[in-house]
Subunit: 389 residues, 2 copies
């Protein structure tokens, strides 16, 4: 086990009706906020009205900014920053999924900074201070509600860049599983795929002797695997929605990274798939992850056997670990198919002719390789993608 | 799943050599501290010298107070409060196990209060403010390093009383598994028993549909069960010590309580065993917990079957769930015996003649019953204890 530091200062407020506490929670930090959201779904569902009522009741004045897109844009972030300055707002409240929360995080670091917020995403400098951020989560997937991550896309050249730092962690996350009942099956499944990828990126580590976090990862995966088919069949199953929602936070708040180094190479490859034809992140991951596994499995065969046996209850072939490992990967693919995810590039409109572009873009600004289990160079990335054809 | 709130603001600093950062960490809160510890073991091991060096290097002035006993006494807490006031110390640093940390927590709430600190433990009133607390943990067991609990004993009448509140959570916990190499086998095993009890008290819940936290509990138990025999055989096995140490924190920081209500009845019964002949808390739990399980198992048979199958890999008798459940409890007892814990009252010097006293004391100030799975009245507590004869 490696040395580590871990602190998750995000207060989780979980359960039915909790969105009605939002005014009170914001008020602990400020009497004013930017109310930030995406499309119109929160108006249709009535959530918008409940949030506004709660803010008013608590005496929190606010301005609002909707319109966050998937792959949130720096353009809107700049608008949010201006709004906060103009109205002297001192808190950013995100109502939505990972994109809205990431956009809120970017606004929060941008307000007290005199230069352009994109400077933080090019690595020019790090923020010294920020506004506090809170969220009402409506899509369990990205884990942004309690994570240190923030990914923003620059409209010029569609550059997608992260700003990962402990200061990014929100002050609170309000999580009511009922708010996810209306998520369509495809979006639900994309979330499940994203959650599983977050766990598996941490699970497949070269760090030896990390028994506890291995088992916590397996617990999280099994929970999601068991509950995903339930919510797809019965979208308003509160308990199954709740399991997935809580698992999505733990999957990415770095508890599962403690003492180990993961491998996020497949995530970076997926970003470039999404970039080419706007495929949903979770769907792209369902294509890339099993291919990545097939490519690297010989490097860490015992771990892949453990994955097969413990996560998928594969009956172990003791004399044939490779067969056992392969069966684990096959079960993962089978699961993705069952929940309606693609598992081949062709299913998301990509083919051999796109490989060069994906390989090239994956490595831009990242040197010669990505990933950790195998440091994937140009030929390796192509090798992974060929396994997804 | 029930609604819940969860926030653990304790920064975990984990790994080899981390105790040398202590000065820097305290300095983030204050330039002065009370250095609080137990017996002489931290001097013998050289830890004391490293802590003092680190505090001096960071420019933190300090006064010190050693002598914390197991079942930490309010008398010493009062001394600590006086010392802090006299030297105007603004941080309490605990170096030791759960008793030292609990004592530090009590000092921390007592310093800014004008009355007697025991008022907080009688429930007369709640603290409004406190000094920040940090720790260097040397015994993985109580989980106090990141928990909201604090238990103090009043020398007059040996009353043991808790003060549980979110404000109790320490600011940081420094956890170097190397510092636990020198723990004797019996104390190591008592810690293991305490950790397992913390998890099982949460695991055996009447709250339905708590799949994720069930699995996190099982992951924690399996980690401890797998690694305990290793550290007993090889006390300086860093990785196995590390697994147990990190598991001890997660077992009691309330992550495993999220969305569910546990049953701490067996813990309360055990406190009175300890009170009678000063048996170690972990050893008493190894006696009481399996007896409690035998007493309540019929109330929640499916959960006991799950415990047997998932935690102990019991081959399930599908047509005989009671037999499966019993086998799980038998395995737990067998495990306790294997690590050198007692599992019968006789082994800790208690017998039928003590039952009345234990029953009576368990209920003092607690009304008619303790516990939750079955609300244990006078006859039930006696019934549990008889199963431990």
């Amino acid at each position: 086990m490696d040395n580590f530091e871990f602190l998750n200062p995000t207060k989780i407020i979980f359960g039915r009706g909790t969105e009605n506490q939002v005014g009170r929670e914001v008020k602990k930090f400020s009497s004013s906020c930017l109310l930030h959201y995406g499309g119109g779904s929160i108006r249709k569902s009535g959530l918008y009205d409940r949030v506004v009522a709660s803010l008013k009741e608590a005496g929190v004045r606010f301005a609002e900014l909707g319109g966050v897109q998937p792959n949130p844009r720096v353009g809107l972030v700049r608008e949010g920053i201006e709004l906060c300055r103009k109205h002297k707002l001192e808190f950013v409240l995100a109502v939505g999924g990972g994109s809205v929360i990431d956009s809120a995080k970017a606004i929060a670091v941008g307000v007290p900074y005199t230069g352009d917020v994109w400077d933080f995403f090019t690595g020019k400098l790090l923020p010294e201070t920020k506004l506090p951020v809170g969220s009402i989560l409506t899509i369990p997937a990205a884990g942004s509600e309690a994570s240190h991550s923030c990914v923003i896309t620059n409209d010029e050249g569609m550059l997608k860049r992260p700003l990962n730092m402990e200061m990014n962690r929100p002050s609170f996350a309000i999580m009511n599983p009922e708010l996810t009942f209306s998520l369509p099956p495809y979006q639900t499944a994309c979330g499940v795929s994203d959650i599983m990828a977050h766990v598996m990126e941490r699970y497949f580590t070269l760090t030896p002797k990390v028994d506890f976090t291995d088992r916590l990862c397996e617990a999280t995966l099994k929970t999601v695997i068991g509950n995903a088919p339930i919510v797809l069949e019965k979208p308003d199953d509160y308990d199954a929605r709740a399991e997935i929602m809580w698992a999505s936070t733990i999957a990415h708040n770095n508890l599962l990274s403690t003492g180990r180094i993961g491998d996020f190479g497949s995530h970076l490859i997926e970003h470039e798939l999404s970039g080419i034809n706007d495929v949903a992140h979770g769907a792209g991951l369902a294509v890339v992850f099993p291919a990545w596994m097939k490519y690297v499995q010989k490097k860490m065969l015992p771990r892949f056997v453990q994955f097969a046996v413990r996560v998928w209850n594969v009956e172990q072939w003791f004399d044939d670990p490779e067969r056992t490992a392969r069966e684990g990967i096959r079960r993962l693919e089978e699961f993705f198919v069952r929940i309606g995810m693609p598992v081949r590039l062709g299913e998301i409109g990509l083919g051999e002719s796109h490989l060069d572009e994906i390989v090239r873009k994956t490595l831009i600004g990242r040197g010669e390789t990505v990933g950790n289990v195998i440091k994937l160079g140009r030929e390796d990335i192509r090798g992974v993608l060929k396994l997804a054809l």
